[in-house]
Structure formats: structure tokens, C-alpha cells
């Protein structure tokens, strides 16, 4: 990028080096706006026999070149910069999760306080947290030492104590780390980086304990006082060390770092970046999910005080759709997966199918029956990952609350979850099972069933999983990143309107609705408990959602966002699916009675047009045949 000003940047090349595929996108400034013009991909090449990540990058860029007609590489296989006519790019940027991404261990004094803040800092930087060691984690010192020695992380983040407070415990943790003599995962020629972001009064003692055994970096305390976190300095140090050590050790990355015009970011860090940017620019609360083969990442921005957004990220390390598919079963149970299926399947056969997917993770569902089964598993993976996220994305724990008389009747301590589904504005899904679902209605249904949005929530999916590239682009060119995010990355599915509150009688009327669509049509009716209703309202000529004016009148005790029983007049954006009215109540309870459950599922499938007509009945018949031998 050398000397280009942002408005001089007209062509952007971005790659994401994933653990299996390297994805390249080309963004060009055309007709006064930045748009995605081409994408290409190639297998990632960090493992033998090639062991050079740049080969995969060159292959992906070559495909991009062929598809776009823009020459991007010179005779020496170097990326041509800056752009000139139909040759070259103005900037090149990249993210990476190849080679296992960034793997960290964190340590803090109190598990629910400083250790959790340290965990938040590491996750926010895009790391996989392998373990959290805390003085009160109930493990004996020798067990903690064994664990530290065994794990071999890329780096350790150590925190503990408020500035100027007691330092005994944090120094004790440092002593354990020193005794473990930990070694880095990659390479043996350098000392393991350890970031100390704890009590500033203990810095000298920490240096004396660890200084000679590890590559010690000291940053300001990430929890200088109990009431406040200061995660940024630690996150920045993590990024620096990621580039200096982890990336530099991975095959070919030194070369790749030399090619890029901005530091390479860990993929999840970049996704978090774009979600945070979008939430801040639009002043909304947003949740993003990326469900992969091995892990499920959830990102959220909530505004508990109505102003500043609080960002959180969680990684559910063993919830995914291929490598970890079997673990979804183990954690959720067969019963919970099967409750999403409107036909019976033989349990023994299902167990074998799940394991076969685990050992051959690149296979895809060929039949409708297999697709329905995978989407049932996805609902459970997403649900479990979101439970973990809600438990982690909390107000700071250990903070003394000032209570009024009114608060005395609320049994709330510190550490309440920040996740408020009623105030959430947007849910964004990405990852193969959501982005590549054959029908967008399937993605919408999976998101609603697993996240259970409340009130009015917009739904979207990432069309081709370009959020990582846009995340790093947001660092160097926010305008281009947000324009492409709005126009090419997001596929607007529509809006979910869900009622919250206790519903006493099945089948009772729960809400009257009336919608004025942009073409002058009026849609009105009464939603019954347990029903779903799809009102089709698509996109305009610029692929932006059309909007309906809606009047929503829930019955007494039920809330759609304006308070229990209160009428609401609002604008409801559509999308490729439309507006979905969900009268099933929250929390969503699936009937234990087999006949009712199957009948409910089939009614929802038909109303939301989730699967083609007759597909479920056909799969049911097939399953019956199998069961009958």
C-alpha cells in the first residue's frame, strides 16, 4: 500500500488461509462503490509435502486472475502492486487460521474474575484457549504444572490482582509456570512467549521468577481495578507475538508477511473485528456465528447501558459439523438431536452415520434425509455454543453492586449475562451448514430454532464467508469493508418476530398482526400459539430489503418488544426468506409427545417452506423401509 491514500485504493486483493482451503477475493471500486467482483480458492499448503502457505495463496490468486481477467501475479509469482488498468492490485491483505490457528493458555488468580478477563482478552484476539489455570480452579499445583507442560501452547497470558493489590497469588502462578518449563508448540529454537498483564506492583517479582525461563512481555494490567477491564494492551501484545512467533514459525509465513500491506490477523480476530465495526457503525446489537467443521465461534456486541457496545467472542472448540460432529451428539444427546426430525431413524444406524462423517469429514449430504439429519445436528451445535456464549458474555464478576430498594427484590448478583435477546437487532450466520444450505429458508429456520430470538430480530447469512477478509480490511479501509459487507457479504434473510411470555393454552390466539407491504398489499391475521407464519417480502433492485409497516398486537402478558401486552407499530425489513412470525413462545419447548412433535415440525416445515413439498414424507417412508429391513 506504500503511499496510497484510502481514496486512491481502487483494487483490493484479500485472502484467508484456512486450515483446509485458502480463499481469495477481489474487491474493486466501480460506479462509485466498492463491490466484490470475483472469488477463488485453492487447498491450503501448510502441510507436507509442500509446507509453504504461499503456494496455496498463489494458486487461489491464480484462479482469481483467470476468473476476473485481471493479471495479479508477475513472472516471478509476486503480487503486482499498485493496480494499473487491468493489472495488479492496490493492496493485498490476509488472515490465517492455518496450522491450528493461535493456541493459548491463560492463567489468572480467581477463575471468575481475572482469569476470565484474561480469557476474554485471548478470545478477543482470535485465540483458541486450550486451558485456563487459576489459583482456585481446584487442581493441585502439581496437576497444574503437568497441564502447563503437557499443553505446549503458542503463548501464555498471565494475569491476576488489581494494581497495587496483593501479589502473592499471581507470583505463585508465575512460579508454577517457571517450574513447568513450558515449551512452544512450533519450533524449539525460541523461548515460549508469556505476557504478564496483572498487578503492576508484582512486575518485578514476575520478572525475577520468569525472566530467564520464558520470553516475558509485560503489558498494563488487564483488570487494573475490579470494576474495569483494560483488555486492549494485552490483545495488541498477543497480535504482535502471533506475528513474531507463531506466524514466523509456520511454513511460508515469513514470505507471506512480507507480501501483505497490513499485518496478518488470526481469522476469528478478523471476523470479530468486522462484526464489531458493523455493530458500532449502525449502533445496533449484533450476534454473529461461524459454525465450522471443528469449532463454532460466536461473536456478540451488546449495549447494556444503551451506549458503548461490549464485544465478546467464544469458541466452542469441539462443536462442529464434521471433525467434531460426534461430540455434538455426545454433548447434546441423541434425543435432543432427533427432536428436530419429523421422521424416525434407526438409532444404531444414525450413530454409525455420525461417526462416518467424523472420520470422512469432507463428505456432503446427498439425500434429503441426510440433509435434514445434518441440519438437526447443526441446531444442537448452535444451541450449545450459544449457551456457552451466554454464560461467558457477562458483566464483570466480583464487582460490588450498588443496590436500591427495588433491586433488593431481584435476585441478581454480579456477572449477569450481557446477552439480551429482546434488544438484539441482528443475527448473522456463517459457515457451510448455514451459508450453503440449499434453501435460505433452512438457514433462517436453523438460526431461529437454535438462538431463539425474542421480539424483532433481523436475520442474515454471510454469502460466501468473506467476513475474515472484510475484518482485516476494516483495519485499513473501513469504507470499503462496510460497503462490501452490506452489499455482497450479507444475504438478508428477513426478520423474525417472536413473542415472549407465558402462554397458558395451546392453540390460543397470541397476536393480531397487520402489515402494509410496499406494493400496497395488506396482510393481516391472528397468530396462534405454536404456529409460525411466513410473510413473503423480498429485496429491492439493489438487493436491499424491502420494508413493511407493521402493527403487532400481542395478547395480555405477551411481549413483542414494547412490553407485555403492548401494541407495537414498527418497520419490518424483509429478505430472501421474508418476515417470520413465531408464535411458539420462549423458551421454545418441543413437545415430548411423539405425535404432537412430528405434527408440529411438519406444520412449521410446510409454513416456512423449509424443505420441498413431500420431501419429509418421502424421507419418512425411506426410513420406515430401512427400519423394516
Amino acid at each position: 500500500m506504500a503511499n496510497l491514500k484510502p481514496d486512491e485504493i481502487k483494487v483490493i486483493l484479500a485472502t484467508d488461509c484456512g486450515s483446509t482451503t485458502t480463499k481469495a477475493i477481489l474487491i474493486e471500486f466501480k460506479d462509485g462503490e466498492y463491490r466484490l467482483t470475483t472469488r477463488g480458492e485453492a487447498p491450503t499448503t501448510v502441510e507436507s509435502p509442500i509446507e509453504d502457505v504461499t503456494k496455496g495463496v498463489l494458486n487461489a490468486v491464480t484462479e482469481l486472475s483467470e476468473l476476473s481477467g485481471r493479471k495479479l501475479l508477475d513472472e516471478n509469482e509476486r503480487i503486482i502492486t499498485p493496480a494499473n488498468g487491468n493489472v495488479g492490485t492496490d493492496i493485498y491483505i490476509s488472515t490465517s487460521s492455518a496450522g491450528g490457528g493461535l493456541q493459548m493458555m491463560v492463567a489468572g488468580v480467581v477463575r471468575k474474575m481475572t482469569a476470565e478477563s484474561a480469557e476474554r482478552a485471548a478470545l478477543g484476539a482470535g485465540a483458541i484457549v486450550m486451558d485456563v489455570i487459576a489459583s482456585n480452579d481446584k487442581r493441585l499445583p502439581h496437576q497444574q504444572i503437568e497441564r502447563i507442560r503437557h499443553l505446549r501452547p503458542d503463548m501464555i497470558l498471565l494475569a491476576g490482582g488489581i494494581d497495587g493489590g496483593a501479589m502473592t497469588h499471581v507470583v505463585e502462578l508465575a512460579e508454577l509456570i517457571a517450574a513447568a518449563d513450558p515449551r512452544p508448540r512450533l519450533g524449539s529454537s525460541y523461548l515460549l512467549p508469556v505476557i504478564y498483564a496483572g498487578n503492576n506492583a508484582a512486575q518485578e517479582a514476575i520478572t525475577a521468577t520468569l525472566g530467564k525461563k520464558v520470553d516475558l512481555k509485560i503489558t498494563p494490567n488487564l483488570r487494573p481495578v475490579l470494576e474495569r477491564e483494560n483488555l486492549l494492551p494485552a490483545r495488541e501484545e498477543i497480535h504482535n507475538l502471533f506475528l513474531e512467533h507463531v506466524m514466523a514459525q509456520a511454513p511460508g509465513y515469513k514470505k507471506l508477511m512480507d507480501w501483505t500491506d497490513a499485518p496478518i490477523m488470526p481469522t476469528p480476530g478478523a471476523v470479530g473485528n468486522i462484526i464489531k465495526t458493523i455493530a458500532d457503525i449502525n449502533d445496533i446489537e449484533a450476534v454473529g456465528v461461524d459454525i465450522g467443521g471443528a469449532t463454532t465461534d460466536i461473536f456478540s456486541v451488546f449495549r447494556p447501558d444503551g451506549k458503548e457496545g461490549v464485544f465478546n467472542r467464544t469458541v466452542s472448540a469441539n462443536l462442529g459439523m464434521s471433525y467434531s460432529i460426534s461430540n455434538v451428539f455426545a454433548e447434546s444427546s441423541m434425543k435432543n438431536v432427533l427432536r428436530w426430525m419429523a421422521f424416525k431413524m434407526d438409532e444404531r444406524d444414525l450413530r454409525n452415520r455420525v461417526k462416518n462423517k467424523m472420520i470422512r469429514p469432507t463428505t456432503i449430504p446427498q439425500s434429503m434425509e441426510e440433509l435434514i439429519f445434518e441440519q438437526a445436528i447443526a441446531r444442537e451445535a448452535l444451541r450449545l455454543a450459544f449457551v456457552q456464549h451466554k454464560n461467558f458474555a457477562t458483566q464483570l464478576k466480583g464487582v460490588q453492586q450498588q443496590r436500591t430498594i427495588a433491586d433488593a427484590f431481584k435476585q441478581e448478583g454480579s456477572g449477569k449475562t450481557l446477552v439480551n435477546m429482546m434488544t438484539l437487532n441482528m443475527l448473522i450466520g456463517s459457515g457451510g451448514v448455514l451459508s450453503h444450505a440449499p434453501r435460505r429458508n433452512q438457514a433462517a429456520s436453523m438460526i431461529i430454532d437454535s438462538f431463539q430470538p425474542e421480539g424483532i430480530t433481523r436475520l442474515a447469512v454471510d454469502s460466501i464467508f468473506m467476513m475474515p477478509q472484510l475484518g482485516v480490511l476494516a483495519e485499513v479501509h473501513p469504507k470499503a469493508a462496510t460497503e462490501v459487507f452490506d452489499k455482497d457479504c450479507l444475504v438478508h434473510l428477513g426478520t423474525c418476530v417472536a413473542l415472549v411470555g407465558e402462554i397458558k393454552k395451546s392453540g390460543m390466539d397470541v397476536m393480531n398482526y397487520s402489515l402494509n407491504l410496499p406494493d400496497g398489499t395488506k396482510v393481516s391475521g391472528t397468530l396462534k400459539h405454536g404456529d409460525m407464519k411466513l410473510i413473503k417480502l423480498g429485496l429491492d433492485e439493489n438487493d436491499q430489503p424491502l420494508t413493511a409497516r407493521a402493527t403487532l398486537e400481542p395478547i395480555r402478558g405477551l411481549d413483542v418488544g414494547a412490553g407485555p401486552g403492548n401494541k407495537m407499530e414498527t418497520a419490518l425489513p424483509g429478505g430472501v426468506v421474508g418476515i417470520i412470525l413465531d408464535g411458539r413462545g420462549r423458551p421454545l419447548i418441543i413437545s415430548e409427545d411423539e405425535e404432537t412433535r412430528v405434527s408440529d415440525l411438519r406444520r412449521w416445515i410446510d409454513e416456512l417452506e423449509i424443505y420441498p413439498e413431500g420431501a419429509v414424507t418421502h424421507s419418512y417412508a425411506l426410513a420406515e423401509d430401512v427400519a423394516a429391513g
Binding site: I364, Q366, H436
Partner: protein, 375 residues
């Protein structure tokens, strides 16, 4: 364009197998390049640092940590035995307070900040064995060696249990036969036995009772795997299970016949020593379980012939389907349409048209759902 299909697992009667046998920490290599080794020969050894025991001496003595140094009778680096007095204070020359060592070991550190003393126990010796019958072809100073052998080689799809070895013995007569309790006989003790299709839970348990070293077979029921391990396997990272037997599954979960080529290879090598490892890791850096049957070939003479190039999929290529609804069926490529094709699931994918060998039925299958069978 990425390979849109699984390249298939290696099954060959002639393969050069190179194994790195590396210590977890630096230590001593005890063999030389060119030396012949057997599976149980030790090739390298080291001492792992002993376990750490912590003791807050200051707390025990009721002292502020900064005063601990004056009370310590032992210093960092000193050997101590369980019960030794490590610190002592006297009050008014009469009242004595002492602190004794809870374990034997060496004092690793004494902290005047925390008052904690760390004691390191005796080192734990670790040995790395050769695993294969072969020749040491490389030595990595203080780290380990490379052992190379030439012989039959078969990769499984999934396994449990670690490295073991034994004489190869067929327990069934056909690749279609299930390996049941009735197939297990007393003469199989210490051997690697070969099944055909499914191995039943009763079959595995009978083999364990008889002291069979390992089982190589086509399929396994996940239900039985759960019973065998005692838990539901969530992620396919295996090899360290302590179940008294090593299992190598060649095809997958369920009742699936072992591929003809695999079964015939194992049959032809019956009576020879097989070295097997159930370790599986299905993540980036895939590790598949394996069966190695070393022969007496000269590894230096054959090493040039082993650069094996994987061919692509073409009309006539032999394939196996690796997912429902045609899971396990074998056939040949009839055509490879280049355009994306809509599947029954509604997804669009690149497909291959196959004609199955057994009934000549033709079917269209996603390329992601087939693997090549090398001829």
C-alpha cells in the same frame, strides 16, 4: 482446482515406511545409523523432569514470606528426603517450630514473595522403542532416530489403541465374514488377527480375554466402540486408550466388508510379523491408523522407487462411495460432468457418474463422497 474427492487410503504390498521415533525431551540416542532393529528395541531414552510438589513453608511456620530465607535449613538445589526438616524457627530459645518435607526430591525454588517452596521429585525415565523391524536410517542428535522398513503397508480409516506387533493371522475365511466370538481361538494370543466385515463387541471382548495383540477388520459399530471405551468418543483423536488391544478399522462404522485388495494383501502376508498402530487424528495433520508388515528387503536398494504419485480421477477409475445412500459400494467412473449438478438434497455439487461392479447399476454421486481405489 482442489481435489474434490478423497484420495483414498494407501494399500500396497511394497512400500517404504519411514518412522521418526522422537523423544518428548532431549536425551540419548542409543543406536547407530545402519543398525538393524526389532520392534521392542530401545532406540532412545531420556529422563522426564520429576513431578513438582509445592509447600507453603511460610504459612506452615507462621512467618511472613520475606522472613522465610532466615528460617530455611535447606537451599535451592539441595536433595531432601521425605520427613527432613527443611525450615526451623525458635522462640525464646525454647519453643521450636519446624517444617518437614512432604516428599523426597530436589528443592527447585524458594520464594520470598509467596513463601512457597517447590520440590521436584525423582526424574522419570522414558524410552522410545523402534516399533518396526527395520534399519536405523537417520539419527537426530539427542532427539531420536528414523527407522525405515520395506514391506506391506495398509492405512485404516479409524483405530483405537497404540503401537503393538505380532504374527498376522486370519480369523475369518472371507472379507464378508463378521469377526465374532466364535472366531477367537487360544492360538491367537499375542497375534494380530484379521476379520472381514464387522467386528462384534463379543468378538473384541473374546480377543482381549485371549490376549490377542490387535484386530484389523472392515467395520465396527459405534455402539460397541462406546462400550469398549466406556465413553462416547467426541473427537477422533485416539491412540492413547488403555484397552488392552489395538483396533484398526479399514472401512468405517457399521457392517462393511473389508475392501478386496486389503483383505487379499493381509491374507497373502499371513504368518509374517505385523506392526500396527491404532492412533488416529482427523484434524489438520491427519494421522490414520496403520498396519506395517516388514519384509527382508534392503531399504537402501528400494528407496528410489517410492516416490508415489497419486493419479487423478478419470473415466474408468475404480471408486468406492464413502457416504449414504451408496456407502461402501464399489464401481467405475462412467463420466465426470463438469457443471454443478443438483443433488436430491437440493445442494449443487460437482458429481461423478458411477457404474457399480456388483449389479451394473448407474448412480450419480458427489465427488466429495467417493474415494479412489488405486490399481
Amino acid at each position: 482446482m482442489a481435489l474434490a474427492y478423497a484420495p483414498g487410503l494407501t494399500v500396497t504390498e511394497e512400500h517404504l515406511v519411514r518412522k521418526r521415533r522422537i523423544l518428548p525431551l532431549k536425551g540419548d540416542v542409543v543406536v547407530k545409523v545402519g543398525q538393524k532393529v526389532s520392534p521392542d528395541d530401545v532406540v532412545a531414552r531420556t529422563d522426564l523432569p520429576g513431578p513438582i510438589e509445592s509447600l507453603n513453608v511460610a504459612n506452615r511456620m507462621g512467618l511472613p514470606p520475606e522472613d522465610l530465607e532466615g528460617a530455611m535449613l535447606k537451599k535451592v538445589g539441595e536433595q531432601i528426603s521425605e520427613g527432613d526438616i527443611v525450615a526451623e524457627t525458635r522462640t525464646l530459645w525454647i519453643f521450636k517450630t519446624t517444617c518437614t518435607a512432604p516428599v523426597s526430591g530436589t528443592i527447585e525454588s524458594i520464594s520470598s514473595v509467596t513463601g512457597q517452596m517447590l520440590i521436584r521429585g525423582a526424574p522419570q525415565p522414558v524410552e522410545v522403542k523402534a516399533y518396526l523391524n527395520g534399519v536405523v536410517t537417520d539419527v537426530f542428535e539427542n532427539e531420536g532416530v528414523e527407522v525405515t522398513t520395506w514391506g506391506g503397508f495398509l492405512q485404516g480409516i479409524f483405530g483405537v489403541g497404540g503401537e503393538t506387533h505380532g504374527e498376522l493371522k486370519l480369523a475369518v475365511s472371507s472379507r464378508d465374514d463378521n469377526l465374532t466370538e466364535e472366531c477367537i481361538t487360544p492360538d491367537m494370543r499375542g497375534k494380530i488377527i484379521v476379520g472381514g466385515a464387522l467386528v462384534t463387541a463379543e468378538g473384541i471382548n473374546a480377543a482381549r480375554r485371549q490376549g490377542v495383540a490387535g484386530i484389523v477388520t472392515g467395520g465396527l459399530d459405534d455402539h460397541d466402540l462406546r462400550d469398549l471405551l466406556g465413553y462416547d468418543l467426541g473427537v477422533a483423536i485416539t491412540g492413547s486408550e488403555d484397552i488392552g488391544i489395538t483396533l484398526v478399522i479399514t472401512e468405517g462404522f457399521g457392517e462393511i466388508h473389508m475392501a478386496e485388495r486389503s483383505f487379499e494383501l493381509l491374507k497373502s502376508l499371513e504368518g509374517k510379523r505385523a506392526c500396527i498402530n491404532g492412533a488416529t487424528q482427523i484434524r489438520a495433520g491427519v494421522i490414520r491408523p496403520e498396519v506395517v508388515i516388514p519384509s527382508d528387503g534392503d531399504v537402501y536398494a528400494v528407496s528410489e522407487k517410492t516416490d508415489y504419485v497419486q493419479g487423478g480421477m478419470d473415466v474408468g477409475s475404480a471408486l468406492r462411495v464413502i457416504r449414504h445412500p451408496y456407502f461402501g459400494r464399489i464401481g467405475k467412473v462412467v463420466s465426470l460432468p463438469s457443471a454443478l449438478t443438483e443433488l436430491d438434497s437440493g445442494s449443487h455439487a460437482r458429481v461423478v457418474e458411477i457404474q457399480f461392479d456388483d449389479d451394473n447399476l448407474k448412480a450419480v454421486v458427489p465427488r466429495a463422497n467417493v474415494e479412489l481405489i488405486e490399481s
